[in-house]
């Protein structure tokens, strides 16, 4: 790491839309060659954080730095080092693959000779070579994402910010895409990638769970799953639904009961809560067992409740 610190450094970042806080004191770091997953449901603040990093939004408090440059005050320097791929496909659908790449190369001041070699490499690793003359609007979802990534990479940024790059992409293309991103990390690029898919969490060396504008957990996927302070009670049986209602409406404080089809998972922290749950459910026809949470359970338990629709 240079004296400038980590390629991405965010400290106590705050931003709100009117009354609604979108980011409420978020801090995180992404090192060289690291691929960090920013995980959270819609509305968690992932996109807001990324847009601040790109200089598209100005934070209300805290600081965001890319390669040591302040994202709010030195945005032009930041833009030279950063590649941003927004959630929506954002290229010119009426221009061809090659024309899109060329335009973004020109925009970033990449010389013609340099552009040629980079373009060749990008075509090779993305598999877009045969589609050079095709209009971007006529590409498949996976191809579009690869083209968008290629355009983002044409100026060889040291930092990549990708907002839900695999949303709406088929499974095969998704796997290919992750391999490409792994390769980029090995080359030393710092990547911050957001995803609403919990099963993609395992792809990252480190994940940051964002919920309602706050970081609720951070670490390797295994650490987050294990290190969650919470434990899980699994409730099954004929009275599962009644048990779930009872726990939601008048259960002990500090616990969260979530329904998963025929089961209810109760996240809790202490043994006392464990026994109070068991006491509350006494008399109902259910079995209660303590289970070790999987990654998904851990996420959901940590996020706590109602906005877990994307799980």
């Amino acid at each position: 790491m240079s004296a400038r610190g980590a390629p991405i450094r965010v400290e106590g970042l705050r931003k709100s839309y009117g009354e609604m806080p979108a980011l409420d004191g978020v801090s995180l770091e992404v090192g060289k060659g690291e691929m960090i997953g920013l995980i959270g449901p819609d509305g968690a603040g992932k996109t807001t954080l990324m847009r601040i990093l790109c200089g598209l939004l100005v934070p209300e408090g805290g600081s965001a730095k890319v390669m040591g440059f302040d994202c709010a005050r030195e945005e032009r320097r930041v833009k030279e080092h950063l590649g941003y791929m927004p959630q929506r496909f954002s290229l010119y659908p009426d221009l061809t693959v090659a024309e899109n790449i060329r335009f973004f190369a020109d925009l970033f001041g990449v010389g013609a000779a340099e552009r040629k070699t980079r373009e060749e490499r990008l075509m090779e690793f993305s598999g877009l070579g045969p589609f050079r003359k095709r209009r971007a609007g006529h590409l498949s979802g996976g191809m579009k994402q690869k083209l968008a990534l290629s355009c983002t990479l044409i100026h060889t940024p040291e930092v990549l910010v990708l907002d839900e790059p695999t949303t709406g992409v088929d499974v095969v293309s998704r796997a290919e895409f992750w391999e490409i991103l792994d390769g980029l990390a090995r080359e030393g690029i710092a990547l911050l990638v957001s995803t609403p898919y919990m099963d993609e969490a395992a792809r990252f060396s480190r994940i940051v769970l964002l919920h309602r504008g706050r970081v609720i957990a951070e670490g390797s996927p295994a650490e987050v799953a294990r290190g969650s302070r919470r434990k899980l009670l699994q409730i099954r049986g004929p009275d599962t639904v009644r048990a779930w209602r009872l726990l939601r409406e008048e259960g002990p404080r500090g616990i969260e009961a979530l329904r998963f089809g025929d089961r209810v998972h109760v996240a809790h922290e202490t043994d006392e809560e464990d026994s109070s749950v068991r006491r509350a459910l006494a008399g109902l026809d259910v079995s209660i067992v303590c289970v070790s949470p999987g990654i998904e359970d851990a996420f959901i338990a940590l996020m706590g409740g109602k906005e877990t629709g994307t799980a």
Partner: protein, 374 residues
């Protein structure tokens, strides 16, 4: 990292914009066909010269004199024969049914009255639905009647024959409405092309999300604005040259003034239209919204520009409103340059006002645009 120069990114944006315009059939049609269609539609169809007015004649006199009068009407070039009425009531019916625009009734005693030097009364009925053409048709009819009366009468007719006034028009000697209309259309064309295309192009970038991509590139807001307006300024100039060529070579409109001055005036006018396009883009989320917003203002601008209706004839309050209408100044300057050979000192009173409005509008647009993208 290669540092981009100041000029190059703008040039790339311009190149990309042209690539898109020439690839989009709808845009290309607008750029190439709009000038031709507008010039020919307005140049021919919306001709306000009085022509082909259908005249229905009830000749009860059936005399040599009455036939000569009718002949005089048809020879004027204004009137053509309409359906023949058989009774006085028929004339009114023909007008009501829209089968004729004007009817005259020559009474039985016409030839005799003329010969005796008495006042001959010829009934004239005019369809007044279109008040301006009705007024002019009536004027023509009266002139013809007067002339015939003088020719056919033994004595003076109410002494009017002697006070025939002589009016002569300068600059547009035949008062050909085409001479007046076509330079106005040239103004309309560059107005529509530059404002609409700019507005649509910026909003399209927002719709496709590419605006955000441009904003995360090292382009400065000034470069971005330049890149989004210069292509349409170029297209507007191409259309100006194209339309002027058609006006001069096809419609034989005299271009008395300097082409250079015309271009210079147009350049300043583009501040208004490009600024307007940018402004519309800052208040619109979709291309349709931008188009509707622009049309709303364009319709007012055109109606209050003196393009169709002379500003002098407008009510006082509305006349004041035209002082802030940039199109008003542009119309008057372009017509002056075409028909009067106006030079810089002649157009100066209009030019400085237009420049003021242009600078104000473009600055406001840039301010709003920068605020909106941040």
């Amino acid at each position: 990292m290669t540092r981009p120069t100041y000029f190059h990114p703008v040039a790339h944006l311009v190149r990309k914009e042209f690539l898109q315009v020439f690839r989009d059939p709808a845009l290309l049609r607008m750029v190439l066909l709009l000038p031709v269609v507008q010039l020919f539609v307005f140049g021919y169809a919306a001709n306000t010269d009085l022509k082909n007015v259908r005249l229905s004649v009830l000749d009860e006199s059936r005399s040599r004199e009455s036939r000569r009068l009718v002949e005089a009407f048809y020879q004027s070039g204004v009137f053509i024969p309409g359906p023949a009425p058989s009774r006085p009531d028929d004339i009114e019916r023909l007008l009501t049914e829209g089968k004729a625009e004007i009817g005259i009734r020559i009474p039985a005693g016409y030839a005799r009255d003329l010969a005796e030097g008495k006042q001959a009364i010829v009934g004239v009925l005019v369809d007044g639905v279109n008040s301006s053409s009705a007024g002019r048709a009536q004027g023509y009819a009266e002139q013809i009647l007067l002339r015939e009366a003088v020719r056919g009468s033994a004595g003076p007719v109410e002494g009017r024959a002697r006070i025939e006034g002589e009016t002569r028009f300068y600059y547009n000697p035949e008062l050909r409405s085409r001479h007046y209309m076509v330079p106005g259309i040239v103004v309309l064309i560059i107005t529509i092309i530059s404002s609409m295309l700019t507005g649509a192009a910026v909003v399209r970038e927002r719709e496709t999300g590419t605006l955000e991509q441009l904003l995360v590139s090292p382009l400065s807001p000034a470069q971005l604005i330049a890149g989004k307006t210069i292509p349409f300024a170029i297209l507007a100039f191409a259309d100006l040259a194209f339309a002027t060529t058609i006006a001069v070579l096809w419609f034989r409109i005299p271009l008395e003034g300097s082409v250079l001055l015309l271009a210079f005036v147009a350049l300043l006018f583009l501040l208004v239209t490009l600024g307007g396009g940018l402004l519309a883009s800052t208040v619109s989320a979709t291309q349709q919204q931008a188009m509707f917003t622009l049309w709303f203002f364009l319709v007012f601008g055109i109606l209050l520009s003196g393009f169709f209706y002379p500003i002098e004839n407008m009510p006082r309050a509305i006349r004041y409103l035209t002082y802030v209408n940039p199109l008003r100044y542009m119309m008057s300057m372009v017509r002056g340059i075409f028909l009067r050979g106006a030079a810089l000192p002649d157009v100066w009173p209009d030019l400085w006002k237009l420049s003021l409005i242009g600078i104000a509008m473009f600055s406001l647009a840039v301010f709003r645009f920068r605020k909106r993208v941040r």
